[in-house]
Symmetry: C2
């Protein structure tokens, strides 16, 4: 199954600005993208990068610098999402995604949604040619509505690994605890460690 992976190259992960410099954020976002692409390939998806700037990577890619919603909808139109040719849309910051978790997206449903925290949509599979995305605001609710409007069935994938997009410093704790790839290695190399000294799990960084 084709999997579109949107990637905003120019100003990634601004909510991590308290703990990572701009250059570190780009580098860490790149490591997360590598993990997502690797996990997709291992789960037999064909990843297709939808990037705001061309990336120096060995992966099919389309460059589109418009906002996420417009770019993804054009990609869905172009690839013609249908029952015969479903198209997945998987966010590039799912650093905990494993092949097993991603494989759960491929079971039936005109629209398959893996919700993210806060009403987000972290991964989708579209098998209905008229379904369109809307990532602004509570995209989860918008996508339920959009599916209903075109008569598409919806299936939800209850995966914590897919629900965890990495946006904020506390999400780095999850990557250190449960990550298995380049993103976790990146954090460890950058000096991040778990801090369990006060009975809850925090983050420290050595110099």
């Amino acid at each position: 199954m084709r999997a579109i992976v949107p990637f905003a190259a120019e100003r990634p992960k601004t909510r991590l600005a308290d703990v990572l410099t701009a250059s570190e954020r780009r580098s860490f976002a790149d490591a997360m993208l590598s993990d997502v692409l690797d996990a997709l390939r291992a789960a037999d998806f064909s990843p297709h990068l939808l990037a705001t700037e061309r990336q120096d990577r060995d992966v099919a890619q389309t460059v589109d610098d418009r906002p996420l919603t417009e770019a993804v909808n054009d990609a869905l139109r172009e690839h013609g999402a249908s029952d015969d040719e479903p198209v997945a849309v998987v966010m590039a910051d799912l650093a905990l995604a494993t092949p097993a978790a991603l494989s759960r997206l491929t079971a039936g449903g005109d629209v398959v949604i893996a919700p993210g925290r806060g009403g987000g949509t972290n991964a989708l599979v579209v098998r209905h040619p008229e379904f369109r995305v809307d990532y602004h605001g509570a995209s989860y609710l918008d996508h339920l509505r959009a599916a209903r409007d075109v008569g598409a069935s919806v299936r939800e994938v209850d995966s914590w690994r897919l629900a965890t997009d990495v946006d904020e410093p506390e999400d780095l704790v999850e990557v250190l605890l449960h990550g298995e790839g380049a993103s976790r290695d990146w954090l460890v190399d950058a000096g991040f460690e778990l801090d369990t000294s006060d009975g809850r799990v925090g983050l420290t960084r050595s110099e």
Copy 2:
């Protein structure tokens, strides 16, 4: 399968103090407990409440006012968790738990862990008589270690519904978005609504 549900009756959910009064927190915690017990029963578990004070509910219960770890370990000893008689331990604040999500705990493994955010352990199944819990700090890591120490195999359940324990105001957003039971009804009756006016999903409360 027997399912122990620990419940701290006296001072629940202090991290919700910014948005709920003490009496509201007790009432909301009670609604969440109802949802967890209902979902467990619908998934063919036999719930057994492990409460710090006797609860006026039609459910088997043990009163034990010691800290969580000691009380659960005594309950595991008493119920004799084994391959023939596995015992589940399910937190009382999993307001998004569905029968389908809980059923995923019952597949094999000496120790089955549904991790929570921040290194927590939101649900467990124990089939090994020597395994003991430790809920202090990063319990997820402690439980992996405890399983290894007694030679118990570990299986993880990747469920976002089980990973979402309701501790903080932002968790109420998840209950409004994805809850299906008494907890969501409680929040709606208390005047809580989703606020998507600024492009992200927040919470408002009408008077």
